[in-house]
Amino acid sequence: MPPPFHVFLDVDGGGWHPAAWRRSRVSPDAVFSPARLKEFAVTAQAQGLTGLTFEDSTLPDPRNPHGHLDAVQRAAFLAGTTDTIGLLPVAATTYSEPFHVAAQIASLDHSSAGRAGWIATTSTPAVARTVNLPVLDDPQAELTDVVGAVRRLWDSWEDDAVVRDVATGRYVDRDRLHHVDVVATNFSVKGPLTVPRPPQGQPVVAAHERDLLDPGVVDVVLTGSERTRRSAGGPLVVLEVEFALDTAAASGAQRVEALDADAPAPARGRLRWTGSGEGFARYLSGLAGSVDGVRLHAAVLDEDLRTLLRTTFPALRVARLLRPPAAGATLRTTLGRPRPVNQFATA
């Protein structure tokens, strides 16, 4: 049996290409339709994928105005109607409140019974203007601080803090609730969190390597480079791949060219792959030796998902690289990561 290989699929708007919504089989507004989101989730779960990711941006691209519903909201919306697939929304760290992010991801973990992840990202200076905060010149350091604060907040309730002791009238044991007392460069947080410790203890944290000063602060490193390899005892390594597959009408490369004519795609630090569905399966199989998984971004979800389902995924299944998460497993369990000991636990 080959080592575990994890396939994540991003479901944002029409696809990774900014002109994707123009090619979608649905009207522009229906790109936001909740029914469509549910359809993607049901399909991805049935295919045995490890997780869905939800890319996000709070700034629309002015050249190609199109929106995003909030990623945590989208992930949470799917928590009750899925049962094995991981849900990993993007939430930025640069200008957001660590307390709110911690509460949101903890809640997602509760409502999904332990399937939450968090893709921590940095924001561009333009976002500072939307919240009237000074531009931070070291967003990587801020990400480290925020991830650290969020992890302390998740641990601020011990697992057994709710005691419901009728004899003494105590609902919680206050000795098992902890002030986190974080004092970072740009913020401080007192704690404890208002949400009890999440089922996974610590939901899975991922970040792109360009946003990381120290890969040790995350569980999963996202990378756009095939040169990044996993290391024993280190975080999982997941390769970010933007892909466009051949269709009967055009090759993947031609499709990207046509989309670029409508709206040029920015470079996002991801690998780009074009070709046939079968070729894509061979390519992904070849990666299994060096990375722990891939995060797939379809150029146009409506078009590329069809080919992915028809040719790429069946081939990955034959190669035993697409193995569905076990029923009832948490995302951590699926990823082979132990449940962390609480940093405040007094034993």
């Binding site: 507004d29 936001f32 909740p34 549910k38 941006s57 709070t58 700034l59 629309p60 002015p62 929106g67 995003h68 519903l69 909030d70 945590v72 909201q73 989208r74 949470a76 919306f77 799917l78 928590a79 009750g80 109607t81 957001s96 409140e97 660590p98 307390f99 709110h100 509460a103 949101q104 903890a106 809640s107 997602l108 509760h110 409502s111 999904s112 203007r129 939307t130 919240v131 009237n132 309730w157 803090a161 709710v162 009728v166 003494t168 009238g169 105590r170 609902y171 919680v172 044991d173 206050r174 609730l177 740009n186 913020f187 401080s188 947080v189 007192k190 404890p192 208002t194 949400v195 009890p196």
Partner: protein, 416 residues
Amino acid sequence: MTDLRYPNAVVHFGVFFQGVNHSTIWSDPRSGSQMNHSTFTQLIRTAERGLLDAFFLGEGLRLREQRGRIHDLDVVGRPDALTELATLAGLTDRIGLVATQNTTYNDPADLARRLASLDVLSGGRAAWNVVTTDNAWTGANFRRGGYLDHADRYERAERFVNLARRVWDSWDGSEFAPVDSDDGFFDVEIAPTVPRSPQGHPVIFQAGDSPTGRDFAARSADVIFSAHGSDRHDALAFADDVRRRVVAAGRPEDDVLTFPGTQIVVADTEGEVEEKARWVLEQQVTPAPAHDPVIADIDGTRGAARQGHDPRAIAQEWRRVAEENKFSLRELVLHTSARRGFAGTASQLADELTLWVRSGASSGFNVTPFLVPSGLDDIVDQLVPALQERDAYPTAYVGTTLREHLGLRPPLTRRR
């Protein structure tokens, strides 16, 4: 019952899952988990079966403490309201989803967007229960810290809501226009990223009883969530006051609904009603503490002490009552906590609640179940049918959006 102000009015119900309070009886064997997702699912499915208008979640951004010690006697620990409601949106079809959200410790860009996202995902069922906080102590959990005095926090709240409305209006068909603000409270530029929902804007609830809060509601809200949910004459005086303020703000008098928070105890016979109401009250008052309270430790910013009331005067009055009746401390608490909400047979309650809405004392009721998740069952299975027999409750959801359920006009900024 001839001179009723609104003779055809129907009762509206919301259910309020507070998550942190003393009125949820957690010690009873029938009381379930306050966090497991099955609890939320069971409660909201019961509510939707009973055609309730809305499911409310509470919010608080710091655990209650006194002198550094976390309060341990009440239910505490709850999900993030908007995140939980998004999950519930995926599991329900009609019921409104109301998130309590603070204007002091949120940014308009982020909160307006998350509310709009819930509104789109739920097909137009989102609402925002606007609250404010005025202590730096809660601010210790946030980047900006935060202390605002009473007047400023409402000023900020109103500007926040107005800015959110502008953001929601700025995605219009295929037009997108960034919103600029530079008003001393918010110096920002926010571009819309979320399309308009089927109900236009999330419904705005305002929770706050002070004159400043009432005026804010009269100018900016769709519904006022009050504490006047026990005595009809008190509720009527409040509702009349709100109507006066709404008219003064240039709106039709029925433009802002009143939704008092309340508790409803239903039993089969009058004897059982009294017994059950007494049991509920006794369960809600925790056992006497092992230590005597230290008066010097009582701090109005860290509990539920009422703004503007003199704690010394309250204490003196309670001391008088206790001495007169020879009450123990616990008996005194039971005495002063009595008469919260309604208790009766289904038929008595149906008459009473119908009278409330038809006389104009309130538009509906936001009910906090004293047992979670089963505490709504009696209301849905007994009270709702009794109201329906009196033509004082709908027999089906007519519309799909919360705005339609509540019979509200279009959003304030979207009227011709």
